[in-house]
């Protein structure tokens, strides 16, 4: 099975060379794709020089992680797609291999990566309670918002990508609903840049929105309740004043 590694990115000229080179060293990797969110630095130029296929995401919305992930999936030619953050400082080929292996071995259709650290505030305060409420079978995932994932390419063509931060949890729910075999794999310690604190509130809102839209679609809640809940999420104190934030 051919593996495509996809890096959604923006203004990451200092990380791109290492990330692309490392991804190419992983077993089965035939292409690396960098989907750019409109960088103003040399990210795309360096990616191309390192042999990655490049595209600028079709819609420069912020946050547009989901748009970038969708464009990456649509450009890819591999059978298995692996998504990774480009700013993982300790990235090794094993990161890719650990995520792709269960699929290559035929044991899973979709792999959710988790890593060594306590789950973040958006995960604990927003994603997990909502998943327990509406999709309890998915509450077993330690890090349902993890962006380190792998899956069969054809599966990604059967679901709708959320445009922003809700994309990871949205994919998890939709692929579960499609009947995909989903496993979680520990990829070890991940050393990367934290999201800025101000991004966490927006992220919480988008994650909640992604779960609630699906709960409404799947007739697990009524839209009025969902709307009230979303208003509540806007007001959640994620402890932004107290220290460094992570999802």
């Amino acid at each position: 099975m051919k593996v495509s590694v996809i890096f959604p990115t923006k203004n990451r000229e200092h990380h791109v060379k290492r990330a692309v080179r490392t991804a190419f060293k992983a077993k089965g990797v035939e292409e690396v794709i960098v989907v750019d969110g409109g960088s103003r630095d040399r990210t795309l130029e360096i990616a191309e020089r390192e042999g990655a296929r490049v595209i600028v995401q079709s819609d420069l919305v912020y946050p547009g992680k989901g748009v970038a992930m969708r464009d990456g999936a649509y450009l890819a030619e591999g059978d298995v797609l692996v998504y990774l953050d480009i700013d993982i400082r300790n990235m090794t080929p094993e990161f890719v291999e650990k995520l792709a292996e269960p699929i290559i071995r035929g044991e899973a259709d979709f792999v959710k990566g988790c890593f060594e650290r306590a789950a973040g505030r958006v995960t604990e305060l927003v994603a997990k309670p909502l998943l327990r409420m509406f999709y309890p079978e998915l509450a077993r995932f330690k890090q349902p918002l993890s962006g380190e994932i792998a899956g069969l390419r054809k599966l990604f063509y059967m679901v709708e990508f959320e445009r922003g931060w809700g994309v990871d949890v949205g994919l998890l729910i939709d692929l579960h609903k499609l009947g995909a075999r989903i496993v979680e794999r520990d990829i070890g310690y991940k050393d990367h840049d934290m999201k800025p604190l101000h991004a966490l509130t927006d992220m919480a809102y988008e994650v909640a929105g992604a779960i609630l839209r699906r709960a409404i679609r799947d007739r697990k809640t009524d839209p009025e309740w969902a709307e009230r809940y979303l208003r509540g999420v806007r007001a959640i104190d994620l402890g932004l004043e107290s220290g460094r934030g992570y999802a």
Partner: protein, 219 residues
């Protein structure tokens, strides 16, 4: 003419209507991915044949129908898919391959893939802003096949006008039209006065030289 239009979104809507106007007797085939959209498109464009294909099935559709297609227009909501389908059209020697971009920043990437006709729906934004905000120089339009373009220059003093007159005098490959601030149109540069906007159309090479020297003088 047989045209294959891929995509059923915003860009494709305008493309489909234009194609109908350009070639009312031609054959238009529209490819969409979801059955719901196919149903809507069939009602919206009764003159077209609307076909449902999977994302991965479009390349083989192009391959199978290559001999009867005159043009392929990639107008999906993803530039990744547009790039893929343009590449498939090129590999199957479709005579006309047109990409309608979602993000103009992808233009160079498409050009590198050998896509010659690239429509950038956002191209009008800087052009119109330049005109409205009174930019000193503005490239208004370039013909897709190259070599001819239209540009405008904001003339502000007699010296500039004199130099432009000198450059354009005896030039067969550039036509000029001056629109004064009051909206009066003068077709000869010799009649032109100051504070108007000069519109030039002609050889791209020559016009670029004029624009460059004008910009240098402005600095």
């Amino acid at each position: 003419m047989r045209v294959l239009l891929i995509g059923g979104g915003h860009s494709a809507y305008f493309a489909a209507n234009s194609i109908k106007e350009i070639d009312p007797d031609g054959k238009l085939i529209i490819i969409e991915f979801t059955s719901e959209k196919v149903e809507v498109l069939s009602k919206t464009f009764p003159f077209a044949e609307v076909v449902q294909q999977e994302i991965d099935g479009v390349e083989s559709y192009i391959r199978s129908n290559a001999s009867i297609l005159d043009a392929v227009i990639a107008a999906t909501e993803s530039d990744s898919l547009n790039l893929r389908y343009c590449k498939a059209a090129r590999e199957n020697a479709i005579p006309l391959i047109i990409a309608i971009l979602n993000n103009p920043m992808n233009k160079e990437i498409f050009l590198k893939e050998g896509v010659r006709y690239i429509i950038n729906p956002y191209g009008i934004i800087p052009v119109e802003l330049s005109e409205i905000l009174g930019s000193a120089t503005n490239i208004i339009y370039k013909i897709p096949s190259g070599s001819v373009m239209m540009a405008s220059l904001k003339v502000e003093n007699e010296d500039e006008l004199r130099k432009l007159r000198r450059k354009l005098r005896g030039s067969d490959d550039v036509s000029a039209l001056l629109v004064s601030t009051s909206g009066e149109i003068k077709s000869s540069i010799e009649e032109a006065d100051m504070r108007g906007r000069l519109y030039l159309m002609g050889s791209e090479e020559k016009l670029k030289k004029i624009l460059d020297s004008f910009r240098r003088r402005k600095k």
